[in-house]
């Protein structure tokens, strides 16, 4: 999971199969995500998400019910979305017992390419606090520099 910018999670009191349908069925997606969802949830499928009079293309990457779903978006209109020109959104569903599900979502741009697995691991170990902490520190510095 390194290289991803945003990671958020939530605990839901429903089985993973139910949560999966909420996340991936287009008519459900239009309730929590975009106003208009024109999408076939299959790997490689091209679709469209509309937000009012704005919107853009999406391309589905991983569909692994009921645990993993990912798509790329925010890429230039006339280009194929690949690592480097788009944002990857990935949902991971983890069943807890039979009736609860932990949902983690991440959104980011690039994957790490130039690090060995050992280096990535070391970095992860050293920065276990992760993104939220980084964000807070940056916010602190930004305020400090501004008033200073």
């Amino acid at each position: 999971m390194s290289g991803l910018v945003i990671e958020r999670e939530i605990l839901i009191e429903a089985p993973a199969e139910v949560v999966w349908r909420t996340i991936t069925e287009p008519d459900q997606m239009s309730l929590w995500f975009a106003d208009r969802v024109d999408l076939v949830v299959e790997p490689g499928a091209h679709g469209y998400m509309g937000f009012g009079d704005q919107g853009g293309p999406v391309v589905v990457e991983i569909v692994d019910p009921p645990t993993r779903f990912s798509f790329r978006w925010n890429h230039p209109r006339d280009e194929e979305p690949v690592v480097g020109n788009s944002m990857l959104v990935e949902f991971t569903l983890t069943p807890i017992g039979g009736e609860r599900t932990r949902v983690r979502v991440s959104e980011g741009g690039h994957e790490v390419r130039d690090w060995s697995e050992a280096e990535k691991q070391r970095y992860a170990d050293e920065h276990r606090e992760g993104w939220g902490d980084f964000l807070e520190r940056l916010a602190g510095v930004a305020t400090e520099r501004r008033s200073g």
């Binding site: 390194s2 290289g3 991803l4 910018v5 945003i6 958020r8 999670e9 939530i10 839901i12 009191e13 429903a14 089985p15 139910v18 949560v19 349908r21 909420t22 996340i23 459900q28 309730l31 929590w32 995500f33 975009a34 998400m49 937000f51 009012g52 704005q54 919107g55 853009g56 978006w73 925010n74 480097g84 020109n85 944002m87 009736e99 599900t101 949902v103 979502v105 959104e107 980011g108 741009g109 690039h110 790490v112 130039d114 690090w115 280096e119 990535k120 070391r122 970095y123 920065h127 993104w131 980084f134 964000l135 520190r137 940056l138 916010a139 510095v141 930004a142 305020t143 520099r145 501004r146």
Partner: protein, 125 residues
């Protein structure tokens, strides 16, 4: 509304090794590339590449001091980056909250239907 990602900003911060370089610049004020190279587990060339990307994204700026080039963070741009990330995080929190409500309502409804079916079959018996 979709977060219209600022591509250069995202790719600059999206890479952990680059984040680490930025982190070091942030916490140490003004530093040179060779000082940075001594504090990260990757090569001097990699550090230079990361500095170029960070500078292009406007997160750091450079100035010459004698024969040295020193790098420092740009507070306004950093502030902008922080806000953009916080906005995106808040957006996903809202979406996850909505998914939770929808999924829990769907599950409760399915439970009621199961209950009704059960009662009906009980009556038929």
């Amino acid at each position: 509304m979709t977060a219209q990602a600022d591509d250069e900003l995202w790719s600059a911060i999206g890479d952990p090794s680059r984040r680490r370089v930025l982190d070091l610049v942030v916490s140490n004020g003004e530093v040179s590339a060779s000082w940075l190279a001594g504090h990260v587990p990757f090569s001097r060339q990699a550090v230079s590449k990361h500095l170029v990307v960070l500078e292009k994204a406007g997160l750091i700026s450079r100035r010459k001091q004698g024969r040295q080039v020193l790098y420092r963070v740009d507070a306004d741009r950093l502030d902008q980056a922080t806000r953009a990330m916080a906005d995106l995080a808040a957006q996903w929190d809202r979406r996850l909250g909505m998914i939770k409500r929808l999924a829990e309502a769907a599950y409760a409804e399915a439970g009621e239907q199961r209950g009704t079916e059960h009662k009906e079959s009980y009556t038929h018996d």
